[in-house]
Symmetry: C2
Subunit: 145 residues, 2 copies
Amino acid sequence: MYDQLKLENQLCFRLYTASRLVTQAYRPLLEPLGLTYPQYIVLMALWERDNQLVGDLCRRLMLDTNTLTPLLQRMERQGLVVRTRGIADGRQTLVSLSKKGLALEEQAKEVPACMVGSWKCNPIEPEQLMPFLNTLDNLINTLKQ
Amino acid sequence: MYDQLKLENQLCFRLYTASRLVTQAYRPLLEPLGLTYPQYIVLMALWERDNQLVGDLCRRLMLDTNTLTPLLQRMERQGLVVRTRGIADGRQTLVSLSKKGLALEEQAKEVPACMVGSWKCNPIEPEQLMPFLNTLDNLINTLKQ
DNA sequence: GCTAATTAAATCGTACACGACAAAATGTTA
DNA sequence: TAACATTTTGTCGTGTACGATTTAATTAGC
């Protein structure tokens, strides 16, 4: 039994588990809005800036087109976004918020506070939050290459 | 535009991205062993203790049977584990390492060091590692309810 | 201006995740 | 001991992830 193969010693297993559990915790908040978590982050990107190319969203969300295209197609079917072929460059696809997608922002603005409020005890001390976020950002930037 | 809906301010988006990128970084190391990341953590649990029930693995990995059962079935098809019906309690399924699954530990023991070694710069300062892991554990424990 | 290389999205196949449900075995209780 | 509840695992459907490949449009080179 090698120590470096113990689950306790795995950074990645913790990240994997924490990510899954946080996403699960979002579900009851997003379900009333008819959203999954990946759909929610696509909308957040579009609420920040509407009318983005598929490639813009890929870079912003660090997802590839083979994930985003089907996701955006489902979102278009649900009437959350509109996809239009680029005029200047016919290879591009422009993703825009529909009226419904734009209106959802008003309901979604309560979600982050509800998320934090649902925790009985605070899992992160306020003074630990920034170092924690910085470490995550360092990790992400390193792995992005 | 609500500040709390900006991607920069999302703890969850960072966790989601970091988890995906770390899992991607494992791929080139696990592919030669014929493993995916979820299969690797199942094996880590079994290398720690062989002969576990499906329910034991569910609790250990914090995954439900609807994820683990198909995962274990694929691993059995690949000859990594053996699933046997419980003798005393016919509802149970015991998961054991095959000879091949047991032997893989020797190759896998290099994986964690290779992972760290593949980073050009160190994304986590040594003195930040423990606080970071503790915060992740707090988060996981809070969300486990 | 015609062909080759490049780029932007989309498609395809496989493997997770997970809510909802089903099935089978065991416990419980009147 | 027969009906019912509980436990353990499995199945099903939908939605991601992602490597590999394809398609369509644009650009570069000659």
